[in-house]
């Protein structure tokens, strides 16, 4: 027999798993990392369900953002660097989605996270700053640098990104 809390959790997972997985993929750029990220956030949600059951999605998303940056901090010294920092990514794939995917992969998790929150989750700069525990000016500068790198890494995306974005 399952409790109301467990039933509520299962219902939430079933309803929101896909959306959460998509955000997690944008944050990590890797299917398996995205799966791990969603599971870690859901585990935290299960642990604190009684406290967050009225608005679990905000909690889980916030957990994913922070967890992703935390993992990156732990991994960055263990992994070898990727090529030149600002070398243009080889645009062998003409598909725009793959090009954007590859370019995002060259950003730092913090830059990716800020872009995902600003342009996928559609949060304002102030909301993004509050969610990530950063200052608004940091969000602004991080966004500017991230878009600049995208333009450098994938010049063909310039039209998408906009010159002044």
């Amino acid at each position: 027999m399952i409790t109301d809390d467990e039933a509520g959790f299962a219902e939430f997972v079933a309803a929101r798993q896909t959306a959460l997985s998509r955000t997690a993929y944008l944050l990590t750029g890797d299917h398996h990392l995205a799966q791990d990220l969603v599971q870690a956030a859901l585990l935290q949600a299960a642990k604190h369900w009684r406290r967050i059951h009225t608005s679990p999605e905000a909690y889980v998303r916030r957990a994913m953002y922070h967890q992703n940056i935390s993992w990156w901090r732990r991994r960055r010294f263990a992994e070898s660097a990727l090529g030149g920092h600002d070398d243009a990514a080889p645009a062998v794939d003409t598909d725009l989605r793959l090009t954007l995917d590859q370019a995002l992969a060259r950003l730092t998790p913090k830059q990716r996270t800020v872009l995902v929150l600003r342009f996928y989750e559609d949060l304002t700069e102030v909301e993004t700053a509050r969610t990530l525990g950063l200052s608004t000016s940091t969000v602004k500068s991080t966004t500017r640098h991230a878009l600049g790198r995208l333009r450098t890494l994938a010049p063909e995306l310039a039209e998408l990104i906009g010159a002044d974005a």
Binding site: R22, L43, K47, R50, I161
Partner: protein, 386 residues
């Protein structure tokens, strides 16, 4: 609000995201989450219990009587003379008189009979029956197991190991008692005083655990040596020598070191530590190498000068009355000047205090960590209830 060019990026991000095929998540997330929650709660409960236990321990340590704490100081097996004697002031009188062997006894400045534990160096003020008053005397036996006292002609002897006392009522022979001393062996209590007619009188009381051997009448003039051949006398005036009597009545001097006491000193024997060694309470006038009241150990004059020794055992003896020591606790001399004849119980107490402080610091840090964990838990509970 996003600008029109951002809409292109936003649309592209959604396109990337929509193409993602979500991988399944584990179906035991709920169970694992609840197990983690129970572990966290158990940790909080353990932390709170630890804090309570720590606080209890700290309170116990802080509120404990210091003397009780020093009771846990290292014990000297068999006992020792303390390296320092102090007047403890107004100690609480103890009713339980079975304190065990003592090393020192005296009447404090407040007139309370005080003994020092032989093995732990602790001070005890004793609630004695008919405690010695103005003209009262106190005398600790050489083995430290018996404490005798007199008050208005009444003499009592307490067995410090079992708390029982022997009473010798005032009688025609001892209307008042002037001196009280133990003979070597701790079996015989020597007293002198005045009888009902006002004449000088003296005698021997069987106050120890066994009967002692016969004593010469001269023994009553001071403290007889273990062999009975010599009696160490108390001087009433400052002089260049310690005074002795042969049992036949011939006086002997034991000259004091002139370099230590150019103006002489007053010597009051406390007992014989060996057949030819006397422990004495010496008071030297200003200008002496060792000024004031101190304890010394020196060879009796029946030995050749070449064998003489003179050791300062303790300096700065306080101005307490009826000071007596368990002289049997002074170790036999080994012939070296570096031999330590007393034990520094204060150092033991200091090291015990340092251990106490270390414990307090440790417990304090643990308590602080526990309190922080508890506050974190309370904060989270408060957030949960909002």
């Amino acid at each position: 609000m996003t600008t029109p060019p951002d809409l292109g990026l936003r649309t592209s991000l959604h396109r990337v995201a929509d193409a993602v095929e979500p991988l399944p998540v584990a179906d035991d997330l709920w169970r694992r989450g609840q197990a983690a929650r129970r572990r966290a709660q158990a940790l909080v409960v353990a932390a709170v219990l630890f804090v309570l236990a720590s606080l209890g321990g700290v309170v116990t340590l802080v509120s404990s009587d210091r003397e009780v704490r020093t009771a846990s100081t290292p014990v000297v097996p068999g006992g020792a003379i303390p390296s320092r004697i102090t007047d403890p002031g107004d100690l609480t009188l103890e009713e339980d008189l079975a304190l065990g062997r003592a090393s020192v006894a005296f009447l404090s400045e407040t007139g309370r009979p005080v003994v020092v534990g032989a093995t732990d160096g602790r001070y005890h003020a004793l609630a004695l029956d008919d405690a010695p008053e103005d003209d009262g005397l106190l005398a600790l036996s050489p083995d430290g197991r018996h404490l005798a006292w007199s008050n208005h002609g009444r003499i009592r002897a307490l067995h410090l190991e079992n708390g029982t006392a022997t009473f010798f009522p005032r009688n025609d022979e001892h209307v008042s008692v002037a001196t009280l001393a133990w003979a070597p062996g701790s079996h015989q209590l020597l007293w002198t005083g005045t009888d009902r007619a006002g004449g000088r009188h003296g005698g021997v009381l069987p106050a120890g655990d066994a009967f002692g051997g016969p004593l010469f009448p001269s023994a009553l003039r001071g403290i007889p040596s273990p062999s009975g051949d010599l009696v160490a006398l108390s001087a009433t005036e400052t002089g260049p020598a310690a005074l002795f009597f042969r049992r036949a009545g011939k006086a002997l001097d034991r000259t004091l070191p002139a370099d230590l006491y150019p103006d002489g000193a007053t010597v009051r024997p406390l007992g014989w530590t060996e057949r030819h060694l006397v422990l004495a309470d010496v008071d030297a006038p200003p200008g002496s190498y060792v000024e004031g009241r101190h304890l010394t150990l020196f060879t009796s004059p029946d030995r050749p000068d070449s064998e003489w020794t003179y050791r300062i055992v303790m300096r700065d003896v306080p101005d307490v009355a009826s000071l007596s020591l368990a002289v049997d606790l002074v170790p036999d001399l080994d012939g070296t000047s570096s031999q330590v004849l007393t034990h520094d119980f204060d150092a033991d107490a200091r090291s015990a205090d340092q251990r106490d402080i270390s414990w307090l610091i440790g417990l304090g840090v643990a308590a602080a960590i526990g309190v922080l964990l508890g506050l974190r838990w309370l904060w989270r509970q408060a957030r949960r209830s909002r």
